[in-house]
């Protein structure tokens, strides 16, 4: 039984003593499931078992266990709705335990919009299996589930064929039920990792080097003598401090004098595009091949263009935080990691512990949008706890998060295509330069500094998808990826990995072709979609977004752009996420101040088809967030670095979107309850940059091919 914490351990680690209210509820529920008061957490975790996902209590309430976590995304309500629908009980009767490796089955990390497609779907199938079994005992929806099985286990395998509720009869799925976490978040009753504490805990801070590859030469502990009760922890090049008082730890980390070796191994962000183009390529991969025997009709015009997307930070509003309690008999870690099960395996290996002795418990943090600094902070906390033999809470400072979170990758794309006399696409070719994925997990910063052995994998997710247009083209488009061996900064998956930049390039270039053909951009896309597959859902999305914004057919740029000192225009983009999932079409209205270089997005219209909608309001919240966050990434965000380190280490150096820039947003959900649901945590990000670039082109006649569209860059482009 992995991670079976004894009752004593639970109490010692504070599991049931001082932790936040809802976790206490979770744990006592978990204990109640075996009716032994928690003598041992021997709950099954195997994802093939119904009992791994569900526990039905004597009072008829239910606990659902999921390995997927809610990172501010609404998963909590959506998974409850899916389970409630199958079990025939109200959502209020369901409690959720997320991402606790001692209680939740491993359902893979929370990423790639798999929270519901895998996480929710597995829970649903377990619930359907449970209902099948309960019906044999005479259960009818609304009946007393507790008296039938309350407090006992099903001891059943999940039946992949257990029938699901007919979508036509859905009572709970599809309703805009409010999220259970929001009242607490608005009244200081949230249950954030940052608010969590353990008895006897020390506060920890890590002192990062002034250059990414610098070695620690010496530390002058006398420099912080005046700060009370500080312990300095040094393990090879890992330098940290602990103190009972958090402010003491903050000041000590800030004031501790240390000398480091010089290191200048980075190319600098100023010259990143050239650096990427000249970087050694590990291998070329042809993703989609042009059909060799098809001869393209003659092109009337040939176009080519280069697009570039810089490194970006997850830039979580609250810096990463974790608590670790390393004891002789095992390790407990509290973390907002999006992959607690994976983190557990990694930490067990690094610290030489059997996996059964390591438990990682998820607590919500600030939104992470992929692999931010959370896992690194967890490793920092373990290192410090091990050194001081006390539970340690580590919270990164702002410069740690901006400076050291693994970054979204830089992406370079060359595109070329021709356009025929009658406006059809020929000989489309995309070339991408992307950081190669390598085997193994991402190295933890602190572990590297401490000189401990660990894997050094590199992976930023499925970053090569959506490099080809979804429109008819002759021959079919060719996409080649040049996988680059090394990349300057540590990288990880950042929301909609790779797709935003690829679609920025593909959909901007599509707009370039439409403009070259003198055709309205929406009409150009509609014809391209009709002539390639004629997918009614694609057409519906495009038509809906165009209608929502009041699209008037005409070619770009806008002949009447000048309006009261501003240049106004509209832009459009469409994509099917991963060429296989959600359909999203987006239209935007912008006003550009030529003199100031500022871009104001006035309106955004989005038509979104993710098949079955589980909770329309939680989904809208996600879509609106996708749009606003990606406007921010497109307008403002670029990680700056010199030859030694990241230099954009606060909100001044790495600005994000502000309230005065928030446009009005209209979202249409194209619901298909009869179809299997698709994840929706990131798809709506993907067309945003392209729609914005296309709108700026419409307004100004100038094509922006490099993000972010900062005031300086827009000004220079319009000069």
């Amino acid at each position: 039984m992995p991670a079976a914490l004894s009752r004593r351990e639970l109490f010692q680690t504070g599991g049931a003593l001082v932790i936040g209210f809802s976790l206490r509820v979770k744990l006592s529920r978990a204990q109640a499931t075996h009716g032994d008061g928690g003598a041992a957490l021997t709950k099954p975790l195997d994802p093939s078992e119904v009992d791994s996902f569900l526990a039905i209590h004597a009072d008829g309430s239910v606990t659902v266990y999921t390995g997927k976590v809610d990172v501010g995304t609404g998963l909590r309500i959506a998974v409850r709705q899916m389970a409630a629908e199958e079990l025939g009980i109200p959502v209020e009767r369901i409690a959720l335990v997320e991402g606790d490796t001692g209680l939740s089955p491993d359902q893979g990390g929370t990423g790639g919009s798999t929270g519901l497609t895998r996480g929710g779907a597995e829970v649903r199938q377990a619930a359907a299996t449970a209902r099948q079994a309960l019906e044999k005992l005479g259960y009818r929806p609304g009946g007393d589930i507790g008296s039938l099985i309350g407090g006992r286990r099903f001891n059943l395998k999940v039946d992949p064929k257990a029938p699901l509720q007919d979508p036509a009869n859905y009572q709970v799925v599809g309703k805009p039920l409010p999220r259970p976490d929001i009242p607490g978040k608005c009244t200081a009753k949230g249950n954030y990792i940052q608010d969590f504490s353990l008895p006897g805990m020390l506060h920890g801070r890590v002192v990062r080097p002034p250059a990414a590859g610098a070695k620690l030469l010496s530390v002058d502990e006398s420099s912080i003598r005046a700060i009370p009760d500080v312990r300095v922890v040094r393990v090879a090049n890992f330098l940290g401090v602990t103190a009972p008082d958090e402010w003491a730890a903050v000041r000590a980390a800030r004031e501790l004098k240390a000398s480091w070796s010089d290191w200048q191994g980075l190319p600098g962000s100023e010259d990143l595009e050239r650096h990427v183009r000249e970087s050694p390529v590990e291998r070329d991969q042809v993703l989609t091949k042009a059909d060799a025997d098809v001869v393209a009709p003659a092109a009337a015009k040939q176009l080519s263009a280069t697009y570039f997307w810089p490194n970006q930070s997850h830039a979580s509003l609250g810096p990463s935080c974790a608590l670790a309690d390393m004891r002789p008999d095992g390790l407990t870690v509290w973390s907002s990691s999006q992959g607690t099960h994976g983190l557990r395996v990694s930490l067990a290996k690094i610290f030489g512990l059997p996996e059964a002795k390591v438990r990682v418990i998820y607590l919500e943090g600030a939104g992470s949008y992929g692999g931010n600094g959370n896992d690194d902070a967890a490793a920092d906390a373990v290192l410090l706890s091990q050194a001081v033999s006390r539970p340690v809470r580590v919270q990164w400072m702002r410069q740690d998060e901006h400076g050291w979170d693994p970054k979204g990758p830089q992406q370079l794309l060359d595109l070329k295509a021709g356009i025929t006399e009658d406006g059809r696409i020929v000989n489309w070719e995309t070339q991408m330069w992307l950081p190669a994925a390598t085997a193994g997990t991402r190295p933890f910063l602190g572990i590297d500094a401490a000189g401990l052995a660990q894997p050094h994998g590199q992976n930023a997710g499925q970053i090569a998808q959506n490099g080809d247009p979804p429109y008819a083209a002759t021959p079919s488009p060719k996409v080649t990826v040049h996988w680059i061996k090394q990349t300057p900064l540590r990288i990880s998956n950042l929301r909609a990995p790779g797709k935003i930049a690829n679609i920025f390039a593909v959909e901007s270039f599509t707009d370039e072709l439409a403009a070259a053909a003198g055709v309205d951009p929406v009409a150009f896309r509609l014809r391209g979609l009709r002539e390639r597959g004629n997918d009614p859902r694609a057409l519906a999305a495009v038509e809906r977004a165009a209608q929502m914004i009041g699209w008037q057919p005409r070619p770009s740029p806008n002949p009447k752009a000048a309006q009261g000192g501003l240049l106004v225009g509209r832009g459009f983009a469409y994509m099917r996420y991963k060429q296989a999932e959600n359909y999203v079409a987006m239209a935007m209205e912008v006003a550009v101040d030529r003199a100031a270089g500022s871009v104001m997005v006035r309106r955004v219209a989005c038509a979104h088809d993710c098949a079955l909608v589980v909770n329309p309001d939680a989904l809208r919240n996600q879509i609106e967030g996708c749009i606003l966050q990606t406007l921010s990434r497109t307008l403002h965000e670029e990680v700056k670095f010199d030859h030694s380190r990241v230099t954009s280490v606060d909100w001044g150096g790495y600005p994000i979107l502000r309230f005065p820039e928030a446009p009005s947003i209209e979202v249409a959900l194209l619901n298909h309850p009869e179809l299997p649901l698709l994840g929706a945590g990131e798809a709506a990000t993907a067309p945003v940059a392209a729609a914005l670039g296309n709108a700026i082109f419409d307004a100004t006649g100038v094509r922006l091919r490099r993000v972010p569209f900062t005031v300086q860059r827009v000004k220079a482009a319009l000069a």
Binding site: G72, P178, C186, T187, A315, G318, G625, F659
Partner: protein
């Protein structure tokens, strides 16, 4: 240890701080158990740590505890509870105006300060009042709807 007295949500409190320059935020969170205000940047750039100081929206990450002495501090805890939220909290809940919610404290406190001064702000005034508060999740439009809703007294 030097002691500092102030009003917290209407009650007098006295706290010890080994460093009079310790930012109020740490005192609120660690000594007084006020978890509404959040550490976001410690630099006065994001607004996550906002409290009301004598009714003014104030960044507690920059305010030394000694400067809070003798003043009235209101935190998110001082407004209402999940069962009895105050009008701004209720409007945020009704509009479901949070994703991760890490910024929510600052948004609600800044909105409180705005509405105290300008009970019926225009949308532009609301945007300006929140211009110094960052939201990374992109909840801006919902937050603005919540502020306007609170101004209309619709809970």
């Amino acid at each position: 240890m030097p002691a500092f007295g102030f009003q917290l949500n209407g009650r007098p409190v006295t706290v010890d701080s080994w460093d009079p320059a310790q930012p109020l935020l740490y005192v609120l969170r660690n000594t007084l158990g006020q978890h509404g205000p959040k550490f976001g940047c410690g630099l006065g750039q994001c607004g996550a740590c906002t409290v009301l100081l004598d009714g003014q929206a104030t960044r507690s990450c920059l305010l030394p505890v000694k400067s809070a002495a003798g003043h009235a501090v209101t935190t998110l805890e001082g407004l209402g509870t999940p069962e009895k939220p105050d009008v701004v909290q209720a409007a945020f809940i009704a509009e479901q105006a949070a994703q991760c919610g890490y910024c929510t404290n600052g948004m609600i406190m800044a909105a409180k300060a705005l509405l105290a001064k300008t009970p019926h702000p225009s949308l532009d005034q609301a945007k300006q009042a929140l211009a110094g508060n960052l939201c990374r999740c992109g909840t801006h439009t919902r937050i603005l709807r919540a502020v306007m809703r609170a101004a209309e007294g619709r809970a």
